[in-house]
Each structure stands twice: as C-alpha cells, then as structure tokens.
C-alpha cells in the first residue's frame, strides 16, 4: 500500500483538477465575457483586453432585468417556503404513520418527479390559460411547488426517520398536542434537513427556464433566466452576449451566498445527545 500511495495521490489530484477545471472554466469564461466590450465579445483571449462595467450598468439600470430579478427572488422564496412546509408535514406522516395507500402516495410523488417536464408544459399552459394564472406569480409558484414537493418529501422523510420516535412520545406524555410535538420538538431537530431541502427547491426554482419562458409573457412575472432571452443588443443584428453574461453572473451570486451561508447548518448534526450516545 505504502508504495502505491504517492502515485494514487497524484492520480486523484489530477482527476480532481480536471473536474474543477471543467466546472470552473465556463464560469470564468462567462465572467470574462461580462467584462468585455460588445466589440470584443468575439475576441478569443481569455482575459478582456479592455475591462468595462458597461454590461452590468446596462442591465442593472434596466427594468427589463431588475423586475425579473425581483420576480425570481419573490417566486423562488415563496415556492420554497410553501414546498418545505408541505413537504415536511407530508414527510413526517410518511416517516411516522402507517396508513392505507402510503406506498401509493410515495409512488405518485416519485412519478411526478420522474415525468419529463417538457411533456407537461403544453397541458399546464392550457390549464393556466383557462384558470387565468398565465403570466402571474401563482402561475409559476404552483408548478414550482408541485415539482419541488417530491424532492422535498424524499429528503425530509429520510431526516425524520433519523429522529428517535421516543422524543415524540416524550413530547406527547409531556402534554404536547401532535402539532406541538411536531413544531416544538421534531421540526427544530429536522431543521438541517429543512434547510437542505429548502436550498434544493430554491435552486430548482431559481434556475428554471422552461416553465418560466412558457408561462410568462411580460416582465410582470417573467423570472431572470427567462428575461435574459429577451435582452436586445445595440442593434437588431447584435447578439447581446455581454449583457447576458453579466446577468448570468448576477443571478449566480445569490446562489453562492445562499449555499455558503447555510452550509454550516446543513452539516451541523443537531440530533446528537437525543438518545444514549
């Protein structure tokens, strides 16, 4: 073993570097593009010859981007909140209770997650038009919650299963109603799971393009990824590469902050000490 170790280490290091490079180079390229002048967009050099804030200035002063950015944040947060609340209640029931049709329920929720989204766009579009949800916030929130739930239920029921059932019994004996037992004992302990789920659901909403482009028609409800599609260049014949790159960088930043901020909570195991250990 000892003889192989340095070679192995070198092998792993190479593999890691390749993966990191593959992941980061497009991002860096995007950042670089966002700082290039419109004329230099087709310049193949990695670093811009001439740095400019023009692209950022352009999009951050334009309602065409600011309004969709606000939509993205609002729709994302509301969808995440609803999905996590519903998913935690459903997951709790699945983890704790025995009821008829439980496996059918789990199967159905998995089915939703597995269904190709593109196949649902047309029927959903028709439904939203009929219900007057087209081009509104709820028009996006409802499908986001729907598609976020299976993921949430799955992640959270794994977390709930880890929590000793005796804690809940203890809470009941201590005089808690089932709802109090859930909110005061189980939910705080499942908080890391809820944060994890929340991040996953939020990312899915934030990054969604397909539904956003299909169910919106104006900036009243269009989210940032969809809005980028409607950017215009300096002239009809110019591709707005610079502004798109800048917008992409802007919408990536919240995600990075989000993950960095909650990382510690995701890792922290709150359940230690509940039972003998």
């Amino acid at each position: 073993m000892a003889a192989i170790t340095p070679r192995r280490r070198a092998g792993w290091a190479t593999a890691n570097l390749v993966v990191i490079a593959l992941a980061l180079i497009p991002v860096l390229w995007l950042v670089s593009l966002s700082f290039k002048t419109p004329a230099a967009v087709l310049d193949p050099s990695f670093l811009p010859a001439q740095w400019t804030w023009g692209n950022y200035h352009g999009i951050l002063t334009s309602a065409q981007f600011l309004r969709p950015l606000a939509n993205s944040i609002g729709i994302g947060l509301i969808s995440t909140f609803i999905a996590v609340v519903l998913a935690s209640m459903a997951a709790y029931a699945i983890a704790r209770l025995r009821f008829p049709g439980k496996s059918v329920l789990i199967g159905m929720s998995l089915l939703i997650a597995m269904f190709p989204l593109i196949a649902l766009v047309t029927p959903l579009f028709t439904i939203e038009r009929a219900l007057g949800l087209f081009n509104t916030w709820p028009g996006l929130i409802i499908p986001y919650v729907t598609f976020g739930l299976p993921l949430g239920i799955y992640t959270l029921s794994a977390f709930f299963r880890e929590i000793p059932w005796e804690l809940e019994k203890a809470a009941k004996v201590d005089g808690a109603t089932p709802f109090q037992a859930f909110t005061k004992v189980i939910a705080p302990l499942a908080a890391p799971g809820m944060v994890t789920t929340g991040i996953l659901v939020f990312l899915a909403c934030w990054n969604d393009f397909l539904l956003a482009i299909s169910f919106t028609s104006t900036i009243a409800s269009r989210t940032a990824p969809a809005a980028m599609e409607y950017f215009s260049g300096g002239s009809v014949f110019t591709v707005p590469t610079g502004p798109i790159a800048a917008a992409a960088v802007v919408i990536t930043i919240p995600i990075i902050i989000f993950v960095l901020f909650f990382q510690r909570q995701i890792v922290a195991g709150l359940t230690s000490g509940a039972v003998k250990g």
Binding site: R98, E166, K172
Partner: protein
C-alpha cells in the same frame, strides 16, 4: 396520585399479532408495581397503553377511577421515563425539565421554581444550562427523571429507565428510584426485563410471558410460591434447578433420589391428570453441604453424594455445579423459552446440571465427591404440560409459613425444628404440609 385498574386489557396489532392478552391488574394508589418478563412479552406495550401511546384493542383502563381508554396522554396526568431518556437535544436541561409545564402554560416563575427544586433533589443544579449532549449517561438519566417529577403527576411510568447505565451506576440509581418513589408517594409502574431490579424495587411484581400475565404478587411471594414453571424459572438468580421426576407409589423418583410425597400432595398431583411425569424445581439455596446441616433439619431433606464439576466462591456463598446423569431430562416449552432468554440453552450437558448455593464455611472441593443435602420442604412440583405449580395447594396461609423456610435454609441451622415431620427418611413437604391438622 391515583390508583390504576387494568380490566381485561387486550392489545392486538394491526398485523394480527396479539401483544397483550386479557391483562387484569389493580394497582393501588401509591403502589410501586413492576412489569417484568423476557423481551417481547408485552410489558412495554402494556406500559404504552397506560401512557396512552398505544391504543387499547379491548378492555378498560382506569386511572384515578376514570376510564381513560380514549384520552390522549396529556389528559391522563402521567409522566414517563423512557429507556433512551428521550431528552430533547435542542433544549437545555432547564428547558427539558420545564417543557411540560411550559406547554401547560404554567407561569414562568413557577416553572423556574419547580425545575430548580427538582434539580436540587436530583443533584442537577450546576447542569441546568447545559444541553443533553454534554451530559454523562447518569446525568441524562437524572434529567429524564427530573422531567417526570417536575410535573408532579398522578402516575409515573418507567420503561427500563436503568438499562442504559453501567452496572455500578444502575445499582446506585436503583436505590435512588426507590427512595424517590417512597418520598413522592406517587403510583409507579416500572417495566424491566431484569428480575433482580424487579425484586429489589417493587411492592408488587407482575411477571408476563407472551402477552399473558403469569403472576402478580410481592417479590417474596413470587419467589416462594411461583404459580408456574415460567415464573419459577424467571425469578431468582441463579435460576431454580429443574429436573425430571416420576411418581411411583407415593414416591417421587428424581435424579437426586427418592422423595416421599405427603398424601395431600400426592392427591393433588394425581388429580391434576398430568400423569406420572412431573418436573421438580429446587432453588440453589435449598441445597447445603450436609456437614453444615443441623441434625434436626436433616430428616426434612434428602442427602446424596455427587461429584462437584465446578465451584465458584463468592466470599459470602459458594456456588457448586454438578451433573446428574440419571433422569430423562426435562422438556417443556416454558423452560426452553427461559433458557433462550438467559442464554443458557447451549449447556451441552447430557444430564441435568444443577447449581447449589452452599454456605461459605463448606469444605467441598472442585472435582471431588461431596455429600450434599437438599431441603425437601422447599421443593416445587410442576405439571410438564401446563407448567402449573402443583405443590402450592389452595391453603395460602398455611403454606406461606412453611415456604418462608427456604430463604433461611442456607444459613444451615436457622431452621426451626419440626418434630412431627421426621417420619423416617425423607418427606417432601413444600407447602403440602399446609394445614396444621395434617402435618401433625
């Protein structure tokens, strides 16, 4: 403080498994009752039904004179200590102990006062602001107890509260639990699989097996007058010795020798319809080195020679193990279950291995032959089919006094002489000598 009545309580799980079958028990106000039995006997299920954590399939449960079958745990005025303690990991000790009061909307000042008083009783004052993760096993156990006593409930329920502690701490805490219960005077139902814990703690011990209550009696009564083979084998450590016996013309033939049965016992055994094969039970302390038995006592028992396989000296007592090759062995479902439960199933010996507890003054040596004496008055006779103890008789008062003897038998000469019983050789008189009229 409230009495508890379990009236024909039955629990059947949705998958059809019968966990508790027709359980009847009256628990008096302030009584300390232990539910004991091997794992899977339904004792925890019974406790959970009292707590309201499991539904009762049929039967009635009364706490403080009220039927509580359909009441939620919070309306039953109970407190429970769990095997795993089930402390809330995200709360401090103070919050853990005050949680129930907080839910009951008790004023903040009262909560503080009660929590601090409980902490003082349990020696937890300096740990009040720590989280359970930072406490030792013993401290966590005390927090769990504290959480229960803070509420001053009508009933305490304990589900194996000591089984996660190490042996030394367990004995120490056992005493504390006992003292606490006496001090608070609260009705307590305590579940354990440890018969020593059961005997030392309880006012009354209820022995369960496969969902059925076998016997509920004082520790002494359980020990001296077990109603069946299971209780006899479960209670006592080391366990009661069982050997096959055959009835022949008023004599009971066993691998140790022949015992003469009293007429009453013989009638009892014969009328039971169990045939001539019986199981004989003798506790280890019913044996003694014959040299240490007073001349007055010798006629009450049987003297036999045997070679000693193993000798264990504990200082206060000496345990000797020997094997009798005679006899066809004992077969009984109950004994098999007992053996499984205690891990004794793999003894591998062809004959009957018998444990005897002798006085420390004995000169018996390992590997040598020794002459031992066994007190026939303490003998139990069981029906192999039903496991019923045939030697109890129905005259409780009379037999109890005779039964009290075996506890002292190992002291050698503590036995009060009984001039009427020395009618030649051996008389097996456990309880069957019963009424004074017959013994004379």
């Amino acid at each position: 403080m409230a009495p508890i009545v379990l009236d024909h309580i039955t629990k059947r799980f949705p998958d059809g498994a019968l966990a508790v079958n027709d359980f009847n028990l009256d628990i008096a106000d302030g009584e300390f009752v232990i539910l004991v039995g091997p794992s899977g006997c339904g004792k925890s299920t019974t406790l959970n039904m009292i707590a309201g954590l499991e539904d009762i399939t049929s039967g009635e449960l009364l706490i403080g004179g009220q039927v509580v079958n359909n009441k939620t745990p919070k309306d039953r005025d109970i407190a429970m200590v769990f095997q795993s303690y089930a402390l809330y990991p995200h709360m401090t000790v103070r919050e853990n102990m005050g949680f129930a009061l907080k839910l009951a909307k008790t004023p903040q000042a009262t909560i503080k006062e009660k929590v601090e008083e409980a902490a003082r009783i349990l020696d937890l004052t300096q740990h009040l602001d720590r989280k359970p993760a930072n406490l030792s096993g013993g401290q966590r156990q005390r927090v769990a107890m504290g959480r229960a006593i803070v509420r001053d409930p009508a009933v305490f329920l304990m589900d194996e509260p000591l089984s996660n502690l190490d042996a030394k701490l367990r004995v120490q805490t056992r005493t504390e639990v006992s003292r606490l219960q006496r001090r608070l005077g609260t009705t307590m139902v305590y579940v354990t699989h440890d018969q020593t814990e059961a005997l030392t703690l309880g006012d009354r011990v209820a022995v369960m097996r496969t969902g059925v209550l076998q016997q509920a009696a004082s520790p002494k009564e359980l020990y001296d007058r077990p109603v069946n083979l299971f209780v006899a084998g479960f209670i006592g450590s080391p366990a009661m010795n069982f050997m096959a016996g055959t009835l022949e013309e008023g004599m009971l033939r066993t691998s140790l020798g022949e015992f003469r049965l009293s007429d009453r016992l013989r009638r009892e055994v014969e009328s039971s319809g169990s045939g001539r094969e019986v199981i004989v039970g003798l506790r280890p302390e019913n044996f003694e080195d014959v040299a240490l038995v007073s001349a007055d006592n010798r006629p009450h028992g049987l003297t036999f020679r045997t070679s000693i396989d193993v000798l264990e000296s504990l200082g206060s007592d000496v345990f000797v193990y020997f094997t009798r090759e005679l006899g066809q062995g004992v077969n009984s479902a109950e004994l098999e279950e007992l053996a499984r439960d205690s891990g004794r199933a793999d003894s591998g010996a062809s004959g009957e291995t018998i444990v005897a507890r002798l006085d420390a003054a004995t000169h018996v040596r390992e590997g040598q032959d020794a002459e031992l004496w066994v007190d026939a008055r303490a003998m139990h006779i069981f029906d192999p089919a039903s496991g019923r103890n045939l030697s109890l008789g129905d005259d409780d008062g009379g037999t109890a006094s005779v039964q009290a003897a075996p506890g002292q038998a190992d002291a050698g000469e503590a036995q009060a002489p009984d001039p009427d019983a020395r009618s030649g050789g051996v008389r097996a008189v456990p309880g069957q000598a019963g009424p004074a009229g017959e013994a004379t």
